[in-house]
Symmetry: C2
Amino acid sequence: MASLTIALDAMGGDFGPCVTVPASLQALASNSELIIKLVGLSSNIEPLLKSASSEVLSRLEIIPAESMVANDAKPSQAIRNSRGTSMRIALDLVKSGEAMACVSAGNTGALMGLAKLMLKPLDGIERPALVSAIPNQQGGKTLVLDLGANVECDGDMLVQFAVMGAVMAEEILQVDNPRVALLNIGEEETKGLDNIQAAAAILKNAQQINYIGYLEGNDLLTGKTDVLVCDGFVGNVTLKTLEGVIRVFLSLLSSGKRRPTWWMKIFSYWFKKRLSKRFGHLNPDRYNGACLLGLRGTVIKSHGAANQQAFAVAIEQAIQAVQRSVPMQIAARLQAVLPKSE
Amino acid sequence: MASLTIALDAMGGDFGPCVTVPASLQALASNSELIIKLVGLSSNIEPLLKSASSEVLSRLEIIPAESMVANDAKPSQAIRNSRGTSMRIALDLVKSGEAMACVSAGNTGALMGLAKLMLKPLDGIERPALVSAIPNQQGGKTLVLDLGANVECDGDMLVQFAVMGAVMAEEILQVDNPRVALLNIGEEETKGLDNIQAAAAILKNAQQINYIGYLEGNDLLTGKTDVLVCDGFVGNVTLKTLEGVIRVFLSLLSSGKRRPTWWMKIFSYWFKKRLSKRFGHLNPDRYNGACLLGLRGTVIKSHGAANQQAFAVAIEQAIQAVQRSVPMQIAARLQAVLPKSE
């Protein structure tokens, strides 16, 4: 296996090769060590490669696939019928060691199910979790997990998420001794669901985790923690609420019933630029790519609606996770925190 | 009992009588039918009544209490030791029929527990739920429940919340045939937790409820529904996330590293005014007061940090709920939707 080989599901997402192929070329051009295995229908991919230089093309290989997982397919069904799909072949390349990571913008449920089936969880991990880095008020980022891989979680799973998040914060965000908090509905110890209280009891005594206690929803962006742990249902609703509120707020800046005067226009332009400079980091294009943590391989889930820039960010995430050996680091840390698990 | 008598826990909240007494005087002055029973320590209340007119004072009665529930007390303990507290006495006035509603800014857990214990749920309701009206993008409001009264809910409870929300949307928001949605992590039927799917199966066949399906977190402010139903854990995290994001966004408008020029200052002032006009309705002062629905009496929970204006809004909510006979309307509707429950 070459030093830095990534398998891409070229057919996934709302736009398929129209986005994944240009994003691949962009990533290859900006990283000379990168090799991409583009999995999909050659007839859809090849026409999009015409403008690429021969040097870039020498590091791109098309791996043919017969079909693709439909975006709206029920995950269980999609997994049963996955043989020959671009998503499954891309994951197979990671399993066989021909690629070190897989990136897909396809059906989330199918990707998570297939990835778990094929790449297997690390020792000590019951189920992988989706994590994403949310920019915070202090100019840093907060890793939030799980974002939807597991709608129900027991206390042990939350502890595993905490360990995975802490390792990722150290390796990817480069934070020393990252703070880890549990998302809850109050900061008092007696608050919340049983699984959260059970996780808190374990984390409090885990020497290897810098556990700081419970935080509430209003601390999502304050930067009080580096890692925020919750179950996948709550994580998904929270992230989508965040995105919804930001969208509404930004839309309010441009709408108005009265015809704007010239000075309103100038000011609005200036103000929106200023806001986008501060809030641009909350733009999904820039933080695209949720990482599926806890498997014996790296899998990055891109937004289905990702554009070229956003998909290139997801590829960049995969590269970082590979370079930092995130799965191996998690495995090592789990041994220390959960010596008796599994 | 007089036509419109409200019992207030004068001691509750971060500021106690300093907020509750002036807010009471304000409410009495603006509603000539209102009678308020202020429950608390006379020595703390009386000095604050000096400026009031004799007409207003004639409709205000101080009901003495010996003590108060601490804001940080564990609810179970607070309930055990509640005899003689202003919160309990105020609820007692509702139970005995001497008041038609109770408003408190005190300990949320204690208020919910005590209210349930003393006022009893309506037939067909397992547990009361906290509901609040969130302003939406279309200029209307969306009722969201439960906001934290019940961290765990089964499908039947979610159905009961849906019924209660629908009645409140009709009676308080005056929406005909209000749309009701379940908060979930996807809009497909197969998504989400078992309790949500169970509730969906019942609501789909409930003739009396205009059930429109699942909505996601990003639809919290879009106005696609009049009533959004979720369990108390998710509701609490979602509402706090919303408040946190708005706070961050508004703070970004005023902060900056460079010293602003005169024209930046003028424009910023103008723009913030414009934003507050549009976003002011998301100001907690204006939508303060979560209603505890499902009991044989009306209980309004004010934010603990409410100021005079916000507490007056909570009193106004109590008045509306009483005038619209919300508890009786819910009881009647429940009979129709859930004929066999309880």
